[in-house]
């Protein structure tokens, strides 16, 4: 199976955390690098966007959004019916899985780049679009729960959340300035992207290691869910990619988006919107299981499936 070196940084961080190394990446560095990554992904998408007619994208976007709505609903039903998970927790977890992981997307793009597999650059737009609807769905699903929902602060939190602002802002800047205008910034935002992604994955390894304790709280059902759910999402993504006539690379990215679970926007928003939900469960599953699963097994697998799928047709 092809193998992407940035993953090794994740494994190094994971190992360092597990052996209780005193390697601590300062929280401020985590925030700084995540700001960089979000902005850079937005910029790249914006530059690509300029090449496509916005009209045709709108149609595709609607299909993707509609399909993506299924994910939190399926997740919620599974958690409630099969797992007997309390309503608030099920809603919060569903929101995490309905939303997307920017870093998982970046690793998939880097994986494709390494194999020289082309993909539609405008997929970053879907990344942006998929980030927040699931959060709203999660809140609606939680609503019959005991606590009162704090819609106001929640919407504020989501729509002006840092990931939306940086992704959309980057998109707009890239789109307005165009490839020529951005060129002097390429040295930072393009050339260093992969190195900084590697650095960030080292941090993610440390963070995941520190969340492994949560898995015990999560229990066997949630661990299984953390593997089954991305597979389900990826399958849906591959089908939708096929319906929309995406390239193999595009289908892999869409599958990865559908398979990934948010751990930047969702935790903060859910903490405010569904206070009764236990964050150890959602973060344990999303970060402790699904994130490493996608990085280590998921992405190469989705690529494999997309290639076979394309051949069969």
């Amino acid at each position: 199976m092809p193998f992407e070196p940035v993953i090794l940084f994740f494994l190094l961080g994971l190992l360092a955390g597990i052996v209780r190394s005193d390697l601590k990446i300062p929280g401020v560095l985590y925030e700084s690098l995540s700001i960089f990554l979000l902005l850079a992904i937005g910029l790249k998408g914006g530059i690509e966007l300029a090449r496509y007619p916005l009209g045709s994208l709108a149609g595709q976007a609607l299909v993707v959004l509609a399909a993506a709505t299924l994910i939190p609903l399926v997740a919620f039903a599974t958690l409630r019916r099969l797992g007997r998970v309390p309503r608030a927790d099920a809603a919060s977890i569903a929101a995490h899985y309905g939303s997307v992981s920017v870093v998982t997307f970046a690793v998939a793009a880097s994986f494709l780049g390494r194999l020289d597999v082309a993909y539609e650059g405008y997929l970053v737009v879907f990344l942006v679009l998929l980030e927040f609807p699931a959060l709203l769905i999660g809140v609606i699903l939680a609503q019959q729960a005991d606590g009162q929902t704090r819609w106001g602060p929640m919407l504020q939190e989501v729509l002006s959340g840092k990931s939306i602002v940086l992704l959309v802002g980057g998109l707009l800047i890239g789109w307005l300035a165009g490839p020529e205008g951005i060129k002097p910034l390429d040295r930072l935002f393009i050339d260093l992207f992969k190195g900084i992604l590697a650095f960030f994955l080292l941090e993610m390894g440390l963070v995941v290691a520190s969340r492994l304790g949560d898995l015990r709280k999560a229990g066997a059902f949630l661990i299984g869910f953390g593997i089954a759910m991305p597979l389900t999402g990826a399958a849906l993504g591959l089908v939708v990619g096929n319906v929309l006539d995406l390239s193999v690379g595009g289908s892999v990215l869409l599958a990865t988006l559908f398979a990934s679970a948010s751990y930047i926007a969702a935790p903060a928003a859910m903490r405010i919107a569904i206070p009764e939900a236990n964050p150890a469960l959602s973060i344990g599953a999303a970060l402790g299981i699904t994130f490493p699963f996608n990085l280590l097994i998921g992405i190469p697998l989705y690529h494999d499936l997309a290639v076979r799928f394309a051949r069969e047709i």
């Binding site: 985590y30 520190s210 903490r271």
Partner: protein, 102 residues
Amino acid sequence: MPPKLHSRQLLTIICEADLERQLVTELHLLGVRGHTITDARGQGAHGDRDALWPTSANIRIEVLCETPVLDAVLNILEESYFKSYGLVAFVSEVAVLRAEKF
């Protein structure tokens, strides 16, 4: 001769960093006229809050106020926060200069 000191209550709240915006808004609605925040990490009933990433960071909020405002804040903490959030609150008696500020 030293300046005159007046007795006030100092409330210290240690909680999840994600609560900062909401809790500060609520405090000022209840009549608090100032607050001070420092970034923190720690451990408690909700496990290890190691501040490796924003989701696992704590903050430490200090509020100087008089008893009526303090009581209002303590009530809100008990009603809306204690059940769902990792949060510790304690009160100490302190002596302030310029009592009219608090």
